[in-house]
Symmetry: C2
Subunit: 255 residues, 2 copies
C-alpha cells in the first residue's frame, strides 16, 4: 500500500453515519439527526480488508464494535482441539463484537469472507455517548438482544433437525437477510465455502454438497459455484418447518 493510497483512504475514512445508506439498518437506527451527528464524531470507517484478514482475533483487547459496511464476515470460536466452529455470518449493516463486553477481550475470531469494509465504534467512547444519547443506549441493548434471539433460533435449527432442514433453513435465512439489505431474495452469492456452510450447520462438506445437488435435481435451487438462485422459495420455506412425525407434538408442545 503506497503513501498516496493511505492519504486517499484516510480522507475517505471520514464516512459519516448520517450519509450512510445503511443507517436505518445499522447501529444508528432510529436516531434523530442531532444524535446522528454526535455519533459521527465517534464512528470511524476502515479501508477495505481482504478475504482472510481479521477484524479481530480471540483474546484481542476489546477496542471497538464493528459494523459491516460492505462484504461479509464470519465469526468463529475454537474448541479444545483447535478446530474451528463458526458461530455466525455477518452482512452489511450488522454489528459484531458484543462477545467482548463481559471480559473486555474478544471470545472469538472475526474474519472477512471477501473484500470487506466496516466501521468501528470505539468502546471507550460508547459508554459516554450512550449516556449522552439515551436512544443509542436503547439501540445497543436492542442489537445485543437481537443477537441473542438469533442464536436461540440457530440452536433450534441445529439441534433437532435433519441435514435437509438445516440447509433449507440456512438458505432461507440468507435470502431473508440479503433481501432486507435491498438485494434480490432469490438470486445471490454465497460468500462462504461449502466447508464453512457445513461447519456452521454441524454437517460434513460431503453432505452439504450432496444436498445442494439434490435440491437442484428437485428444482428447488439452481447452483453454480457460489452463485445460487432459489427457484422454489415456498417449498424451501416449508422444508424449514420440519415435517416430522406429528406424534412428537404431544410430547413437547404446550397446551
Amino acid at each position: 500500500m503506497t503513501t498516496s493510497d493511505q492519504v486517499i483512504s484516510i480522507s475517505k475514512l471520514k464516512t459519516s453515519c448520517s450519509t450512510c445508506s445503511l443507517h436505518e439498518l445499522c447501529l444508528p437506527r432510529g436516531l434523530n439527526s442531532i444524535d446522528l451527528e454526535k455519533l459521527d464524531h465517534v464512528v470511524k470507517g476502515s479501508r477495505p480488508i481482504q478475504k482472510g484478514d481479521y477484524l479481530f482475533r480471540l483474546n484481542d483487547k476489546f477496542n471497538a464494535f464493528y459494523a459491516v459496511r460492505s462484504g461479509s464476515v464470519k465469526a468463529y470460536i475454537l474448541n479444545e482441539l483447535g478446530e474451528e466452529q463458526i458461530i455466525g455470518f455477518y452482512f452489511p449493516g450488522e454489528v459484531l463484537g458484543f462477545d467482548a463486553i463481559d471480559q473486555n477481550i474478544h471470545t472469538c475470531f472475526a474474519m472477512a469472507l471477501e473484500t470487506t469494509t466496516y466501521c468501528s465504534i470505539p468502546y471507550d467512547r460508547i459508554h459516554d455517548i450512550c449516556m449522552q444519547i439515551p436512544d443509542l443506549q436503547k439501540q445497543m441493548f436492542r442489537l445485543i438482544s437481537r443477537e441473542l434471539t438469533n442464536e436461540n433460533k440457530m440452536l433450534l435449527t441445529i439441534n433437532n433437525r435433519t441435514a435437509e432442514e438445516k440447509l433449507a433453513t440456512f438458505l432461507i435465512s440468507l435470502s431473508t437477510r440479503l433481501h432486507k439489505l435491498g438485494y434480490s431474495a432469490i438470486e445471490f452469492n454465497l460468500p462462504m465455502s461449502r466447508q464453512e456452510i457445513a461447519n456452521y450447520l454441524g454437517l460434513t462438506i460431503e453432505t452439504v454438497s450432496r444436498l445442494l445437488t439434490k435440491f437442484q435435481r428437485e428444482q428447488l435451487i439452481q447452483i453454480d459455484k457460489k452463485e445460487i438462485k432459489l427457484t422454489n422459495l415456498s417449498e424451501l420455506h416449508s422444508m424449514c418447518e420440519g415435517a416430522r412425525c406429528p406424534s412428537a407434538e404431544g410430547k413437547n408442545s404446550v397446551a
Copy 2:
C-alpha cells in the same frame, strides 16, 4: 407452608440486593454501597412459584428482567410445529429476560423446574437507573454479553459432538455453575427431567438414559433418580474435549 410462614415471606419480599447473599454473582455485582441502595428501591422480590409455573411466556409484554434467587428455571422456544426446544437452564444469581429487549415482548417461555423464588427488575426503570449508575449499565451489558458467549459455547457443544461428549459437557457445566454458587461440585440434584436434558442436548430420552447408565457402569458417576454424584471429574472433563480423530485438526484449525 403455614400462614405464619407466608407472613414472614411477604415481609421478606422487601429483599434488598445489599443484604442478598447472591449479590456478588448477580446483577449488582461490583456496585458500591451507594449504588446498591439505589438499586434496592427498584428490585422487587417474589413469593415462591411452583414447578410448572411461568415467570413469563412467549409474546408476554416485557415488564422486567428476572434474577433467580432460589430453585431453577428452564427457558424454551417453540418451533413451527409447536414442539419445545429448551435454550437454557437458570440457577440462582442468573438473570433472564434479555431476549425481550429488542421487540419489547418475550421471545421464549420461562418455567420453574421446581419451587423457585426470584427478583424482578422493572424494565421501565432500568433505563433511568442505568443513566444514574454507569456501573450498572456496564454490568447489564456484561451480563447480556456473557449470555451470548454462553450460547456460543452451547452451539459448539451441540453442533459437532457425540452424544457422550454432549452429556459429559452438560454435567460438567452444571457442576461448575453450582460450585460457583457455593454448592458441591460433585454431588447435586438434577432439577430437570431426562426428557428435558435430551431436548436441550438434541438427543432422545433413550440415549440420555443409556448414557447415564453407561457412565455409571464406567464409574464416572453415581446416579439415583435426580441425585447425581460425579465420581470421576477429571475423566468427565477430558470427555468434553472430544478425543476425535486428530486429522480433522488440520482441516479446521488456525495456523
